[in-house]
């Protein structure tokens, strides 16, 4: 196993950082790494907003559900789907491509582009000994987030990524059994396999929590997923992304 794969397999989200800020050079390397990712048809349909202003970090931390590590970290990056450049370029040439930018394909492309770039940044950061955590919580109240970051229409903040020097480490959470995620040639939707995989995984997760909490926490993955889904996550987004010019047709 080489160093890179070791870094990848050793991933765990870090939610507590020392006060040490990233240097400009580190930020530069991370952004350069993000930009090196593949991009669909060369569109590069994303932007990254680096947030160093402590007031803005505090505001975003509250909006993301009072997560202190959104405020206290080495640097906060916000990854955005971005079709603003494409629209502006077209306008310069007297073309109106708004209708195309608004379609679901371009919504998907811009999300995928942003995520590929973000994961490159994550791996680069971890290879430098830094810790990372994705912040989906910024999607709680995107209307306020877009005000803090002054993003125009056709730019949609998707998630944050906090990076910093780990203050303490965390456990590596077990993933679904490989055979539940990896299918050969066709998607295996047989109920028997499904139940077998889920039972095995529920047992793994229950044991994982039991061991780490002296038996205080025993819930399974199924329990967690159902609990999460019952919170009706962010139902306003369907309309919100349309208002910002994405996913309309």
């Amino acid at each position: 196993m080489n160093n890179t794969i070791e870094t990848i397999l050793n991933h765990r989200s870090i939610r507590s950082f020392t006060d040490q800020l990233l240097s400009s050079e580190e930020i530069h390397t991370l952004v350069e790494s993000a930009q090196a990712a593949s991009t669909s048809s060369y569109v590069q349909a994303y932007s990254i907003i680096g947030v160093s202003d402590q007031d803005k970090k505090r505001e975003l931390s509250v909006l993301a559900g009072n997560q202190p590590y959104v405020e206290h970290n080495g640097h906060l990056f916000v990854f955005c789907a971005d079709l603003y450049r494409h629209k502006a370029l077209a306008e310069q040439k007297g073309e109106d491509i708004t209708e195309l930018l608004e379609n679901t394909e371009m919504f998907m492309v811009s999300i995928i582009d942003a995520a590929l770039a973000a994961q490159n940044m994550s791996i680069a950061a971890e290879s430098m000994g830094l810790g990372i955590c994705y912040i989906g919580g910024i999607r709680n109240e995107l209307d306020k987030v877009t005000k803090v970051l002054e993003t125009p229409d056709h730019v949609l903040p998707l998630f944050g990524l906090v990076v910093g020097h780990p203050a303490n480490t965390s456990g590596k959470k077990p993933r679904l059994p490989k055979q539940a995620v990896y299918h050969e040639n066709v998607y295996d939707s047989s109920e028997e396999n499904f139940r077998k995989n889920m039972n095995e995984y529920d047992q793994t997760i229950s044991n994982y929590y039991k061991e780490r909490t002296n038996g205080q926490r025993v819930e399974t993955w199924s329990d967690q997923i159902l609990q999460f889904m019952k919170q009706k996550p962010r139902t306003y987004l369907n309309q919100y992304v349309k208002d910002k010019g994405f996913n309309k047709q």
Copy 2:
């Protein structure tokens, strides 16, 4: 610069592979690397279909726009947004969470999860000396792709990823200037900066093509983007993803 960052910065898409297939062990390492990526709220909302069946590879290659490297490679992976497991788990417990699974937030979450996993796989592959190329072309005709891969509702093939031993290498395509992609504290939408960045980049890209084609190709990035957009990419997707149970509300 460490090895991992070197690998990341050295990325270029490879579109020509030797006949050598990936070993089971290599495939295992790649899938394990993919699974190690971060996942929103632990939902792990994606699946990977590994395609080794040569007939299926040929079919997918035609559907993806007759790209020969979709047929000839070391292995073809198809990454899917997947909320099927979550629906089935809920059904087992007598809960109906269909409405929640159908919202735009879960559509975004499943796309992001799949893309983070895919980029982990890409970096892992490149660190092993393998080449990769993303295949967005499978979104040309998703109705046929879902038949080939037998994906049920709540599973949406997003893109392919071909991996293999490079037969020949390709150039590293210059990315947008850093200051066009990376913003500090607020999104910079000033027209002056925008024009400056775009002019600089258009010049870079035009020179890049000129040098590589002995002056035959001179187009700028702006030219390419407008040309691409005018093709009206995949406008059927808005309805199609809804038919598969995603992004409905």
